[in-house]
Symmetry: C2
Amino acid sequence: MAKVSVSIPQGTRDFGPDVVRKRNYIFNTIKTVFELYGFQPLETPAMENLDTLMGKYGEEGDKLIFRVLDSGNPFSNEFLKVFVKLIEIEKNRLGFAPSIDIFSFLQVDEHLNNLINSDPFKKYYLNRIKNEVSGKALKYDLTIPFARYVAMNYGKLSFPFKRYQIQPVWRADRPQKGRYREFYQCDADIVGSTSLLNEVELANIYATVFEKLGIKVEIKINSRKILTALAEICGGADKMLDITIAIDKLDKIGLEKVKEELLQKGLTKDQIIVIEKYLSIEGSNEEKLLQIKNIIGNNESGSKGTSELEYILNFPLTTHRSPLTIDFTLARGLNYYTGIIFEVKAKDVQMGSIGGGGRYDDLTGLFGVPNIPGVGISFGVDRIYDVMEELKLFPEQVHTGTQVLFFNFGDVESKAAFNIMHQLRTNNVRCELYHEPAKFDKQFKYAEKKNIPFAVIMGSKEIEEKNCVVKDLRIGGQQTISLNDLLNYKF
Amino acid sequence: MAKVSVSIPQGTRDFGPDVVRKRNYIFNTIKTVFELYGFQPLETPAMENLDTLMGKYGEEGDKLIFRVLDSGNPFSNEFLKVFVKLIEIEKNRLGFAPSIDIFSFLQVDEHLNNLINSDPFKKYYLNRIKNEVSGKALKYDLTIPFARYVAMNYGKLSFPFKRYQIQPVWRADRPQKGRYREFYQCDADIVGSTSLLNEVELANIYATVFEKLGIKVEIKINSRKILTALAEICGGADKMLDITIAIDKLDKIGLEKVKEELLQKGLTKDQIIVIEKYLSIEGSNEEKLLQIKNIIGNNESGSKGTSELEYILNFPLTTHRSPLTIDFTLARGLNYYTGIIFEVKAKDVQMGSIGGGGRYDDLTGLFGVPNIPGVGISFGVDRIYDVMEELKLFPEQVHTGTQVLFFNFGDVESKAAFNIMHQLRTNNVRCELYHEPAKFDKQFKYAEKKNIPFAVIMGSKEIEEKNCVVKDLRIGGQQTISLNDLLNYKF
């Protein structure tokens, strides 16, 4: 058999033991906090029907959906019928079965997709085959499958429904540093409630999780309602999209370019002066709120937005003072948010946002169940991992798998070791016996490579004397203790 | 927008909160035991290169592999070139762009696959397109990705390498009761060691896990070496496959049919008498070993097999007597096993095997790294779940998410509740506040539906008196306690 080249698909990763343990440390911390706040776990399949996903992520998003072929044989009968027919025609035209190099004779326009899209007949064929070939796809995020789940189980769920979900998603994006084709998302959402208490709880969850992980963060908060007010004041509600897009770029392109873009979009100089004033709001949360009220005046949407911000900021939070910072330049891109929006940044390290979320009016409407409002947050686990690596925040014990290695001295000693190990394992000590009676060096090396902190030496002499030698492999000391003491040893 | 029909792909499942908690109880129990025995976690991507998977599971298995299209657009340029060309030809032939109903005019042989396979030209086209369209697939099991991982990281790993892996796999099988297209596998393997201590540990892991889960099991053990010996005695080593296949069916078709099948495969009556004698071996493990020795005599493979069985059975195990039962009728289907094989059956319930495994000689050889022997076991999580449901073995606390619901009496009371809840959460009590000041009935119903065992009533009167009412919603009692006592209450 030919040697297979060994690799994994671009943009995917294997997670070895040390990385899994560190990732699980993050997942378990987040999960524990979600549960302390009454959120319940949900898991949805990796595959969704193509219909469920298509059209939900914009044109660019749709292109990044990984389709799954319908069965082991990727071609349906419908496809094969067309295909066989066309091959027959080609054979008849040529008068012979075309050579295997026929591909090289095919001269087709370079802009193949354009060509196809410009011919409705070809387009129809392709679409028909596309649908025949693939009716399923890998999920692109956790939000749409969650909305689909809520719509499907509407009658059975009790609302408000608070769920968390920690699962992988897939995107056919161009892989690059920090961007993967398979990665975990980590979401908590409450649907079926308009109460601002939900926003308060979610802000608390952010504060608690990052405190537990040891990451100092800034939790930014804004309201889409205030952005709506700004648009209404500066050119009308139909400018909301243009203004949001421009503001969202502020970090990347700077104020001058944002102003240029707004000018191009048809805003007047006076309107741009207002936006510039908006973007330059500074100070404490209280000072910012005073300034925003000057700008938006009595605008209804704006007043709602500011009073919601005030309500949340005045709530007693984990630290007994709000961990939230108003940031009116926060826009959260082009998504379905309609109320409060959040974004989290790590303080001591250069990194994009490590969390974000907000309130949406109607997500399940896409699946025929309208008027279920919700609010949710998400943790960017890959970035949180990178932050913790960079700041060396993973606790020592996360690196330890096996705690004790019993050295192997032969058959009789192995049996004695097994007996002791059984008792240690009952006491939740993770231990193992080296698999064969090898040289000391080899057994030490195994412990070292596997980062095992303790070794137990129990040869025939020790067994006879009912004791053993415990070696601390990190600091190098050793002591002889009775087997009874071994069972209560603090590894 | 048209209403989308809401469903999930055939053979996949959503897992709601209660099911996730029960499944996690099983996963965590198994995981904890794996770690007590020194196994380390590994995670591999959902997608593997098609090359990695194809040809590893037999012809039938290959057909069940879910292929993933290479990008958001399922058709490569190569495919489109051929396609556009063929459409052009069809247009020219007809003299017009065919109507949208062209599919109905196509009259093609019913046995389409046969037709295509019988024409090398068509077959070539299809294969070419298949490979263009899809170079990736969803993993079919955890064993091949593990072998691929070991081969890829050979230089970096320290051997013996003990890993466990708990992840979903996908098979395009026809869905039916208890058979899914997406399901979890749960494996532990040791590679790089021929020591029988590994088999002993794996048998112990089975015994420990099922004891912890409360499932009474029979752990069956046999050796492929003994089956080899039997084949050598009855018609030669080339009959191994026929004999194994026939024996594997014993449970389903009974002894007489097995004998018939062996006769058809060319075994003599004398040979079949030996096999019948083999299959009827009964008694204690010791008695069975005596009888097998009579049958296989001095056969080298057989002697190795029996002495390996004896070694494992004589080892001190968790229960201080072996939990293992020799079952010479155990064959474990058609796979790569070469030594000891295991299978686990639940005792008090009608169910197929809930675990299985065995020793293999060379798995990574498929990926260019030969001579790495290994041994592994697997847990059938879906069946274990069904057994536990049927026997009501899930512990009470598995059903509890939130422990305490604070009733909502309005804004002031909410803030007081938040403060108390923050302290309770610091003590790891899972609690939540009802999202709005609704009628008592509604708040009770929420607690009931969510299976929350305790409610805390803290209205303005209670806040003033610095106490609260704790209601036990399961048994119906209630008591008034101070807020200080609440913080130490045993929920």
